[in-house]
């Protein structure tokens, strides 16, 4: 077994962990973290695919690596938006201030 396969298998297991996090989370934050762990596993499998494709003087196939960079940024955007929604939802649920903007008091 080579190191590359090892990372591929680790990616598979990380994806499994992420699925568990998604399914067993108690709240939104846990699900968001589970999604990120799952995403990390998927990207790692792609990394193993890229490393296996080393050729033409490159240590790895650059196409999957570029795709993963795009993927990481998209995953960050998703995380940030989901967290912002979660925080705002808690504020609206907890705050006595009406959310239709008639009378707002800032902390």
């Amino acid at each position: 077994m080579t190191g590359v396969t090892l990372f591929g298998l680790a990616g598979a297991i990380l994806a499994g962990c992420g699925v568990y996090g998604l399914l067993s989370a108690g709240g939104g934050l846990g699900r968001i973290l589970g999604f990120n762990v799952l995403g990390g596993g998927v990207f790692l499998i792609f990394g193993a695919v890229a490393r296996r494709g080393a050729a033409a003087g490159f240590h790895a196939d650059p196409v999957p690596q570029a795709l993963v960079i795009t993927g990481i940024v998209v995953a960050f955007c998703a995380t940030a938006l989901a967290l912002a929604l979660l925080v705002r939802l808690r504020e609206v649920e907890a705050g006595p201030a009406p959310d239709d903007g008639k009378r707002e008091t800032e902390r």
């Binding site: 077994m1 190191g3 990372f7 591929g8 298998l9 680790a10 598979a12 994806a15 499994g16 962990c17 992420g18 699925v19 568990y20 996090g21 399914l23 067993s24 989370a25 709240g27 939104g28 934050l29 846990g30 968001i32 973290l33 762990v37 990390g40 990207f43 790692l44 499998i45 990394g47 193993a48 695919v49 490393r51 296996r52 494709g53 050729a55 033409a56 490159f58 790895a60 196939d61 196409v63 690596q65 795709l67 993963v68 960079i69 990481i72 940024v73 960050f76 955007c77 998703a78 995380t79 940030a80 967290l83 912002a84 979660l86 925080v87 808690r90 959310d99 239709d100 707002e104 800032e106």
Partner: protein, 305 residues
């Protein structure tokens, strides 16, 4: 020897992931996740993906970590229910099935490395990953800038009505503590230099717009935490120009490709590298500003304050 190191790293990764999804309490889970991101970055180094490693550590672990920590403060910790046997069973099934598929991948592995190697010299770039991101698959990169911008619009749209065009809440207490102000004053210039270096070197070596943008965003956050700068008003035209510089600058270069190279997103022959670096500068600025503002969250101060 290196196989041993890889195996240990993989075990740590799995332990980290398990730590994230089974942690008691949201804060612990987030801290475990930041560690998990750093380990993932190391794994990418071992997989010869230095560009990815930098991105993972800067964005996947670093800036994501800041956003997560800020969210943990605002969201009460939901109790994690005990172990779910069914979920665990399903997850083991997923991991096993994926493992089988990973082991069944074809040999020799298909690769695009030859195509990239053949086409890269024409672009005058030395870093194949930058070549793929900015030349061969530039459409993906361009639209991903729009995704980043949309995420910011989505975050801003969560503001309360009166604060729609106000400022995000400051990151620092008033006044900022002496050590964080010191750190901001000393580290920010160094970080700025590192960010610019990453951008410059990205054409030929690992680095590039994303990594540089993330480092610059981190420096911006440092300055905000140290109370050296104030969060900008979201309606400021200058700020909005900075946000648009990347996506629309890239788009403009894409359109000019019709005139100079006869094809959308083509680069003018002989001028590929300078134009590519100009595009990278524009998108780095937008990435840095957008990431910073996403971390700051929706505007909260009322207009006029």
């Amino acid at each position: 020897m290196s196989l041993l190191f890889d195996a240990a790293l993989c075990l740590l990764l799995v332990a980290g992931a398990l730590g994230v999804v089974t942690a008691r309490g949201a804060r612990r889970a987030v801290l475990a996740f930041i560690g998990y991101g750093l380990l993932l970055g190391l794994a990418w180094v071992r997989l010869d993906g230095l560009d990815v490693a930098l991105t993972e550590i800067a964005i996947g672990s670093g800036i994501s970590g800041v956003v997560l920590l800020r969210a943990v403060r605002a969201v009460p910790e939901a109790p994690r229910p005990g172990t779910r046997p069914l979920a665990a069973l399903l997850s083991v099934g997923v991991a096993a099935a994926l493992s089988v598929m990973v082991l069944a991948l074809p040999e020799p592995a298909p690769t695009r490395a030859h195509d990239v190697a053949a086409a890269l010299p024409a672009t005058d770039l030395g870093n194949p990953v930058t070549g793929v991101l900015l030349v061969f698959r530039a459409l993906d990169t361009l639209l991903e800038k729009v995704v980043l911008l949309l995420a910011l619009v989505g975050v801003w749209a969560l503001s309360r009505d009166p604060s729609w065009s106000g400022r995000p809440a400051p990151l620092s207490s008033e006044p900022a503590s002496a050590p964080s102000a010191f750190l901001a004053r000393v580290l920010a210039p160094v970080g700025l230099l590192v960010g610019l270096y990453l951008l410059w070197v990205g054409a030929d070596a690992p680095g590039g717009a994303f990594q540089s943008g993330a480092v610059l965003a981190a420096m911006g956050l440092l300055l905000l935490m140290g109370g050296q700068i104030r969060p900008p008003r979201t309606s400021s035209p200058r700020l909005r120009l900075l946000l648009l510089a990347g996506p629309l600058g890239f788009l403009a270069v894409g359109f000019s490709g019709w005139a100079t190279a006869g094809v959308f997103l083509g680069y003018p022959p002989g001028w590929e590298k300078p134009v590519i670096i100009a595009v990278e500068v524009a998108i780095t600025i937008s990435i840095a500003v957008t990431l910073c503002l996403i971390v700051l969250g929706p505007p909260s101060a009322e207009e006029g304050t």
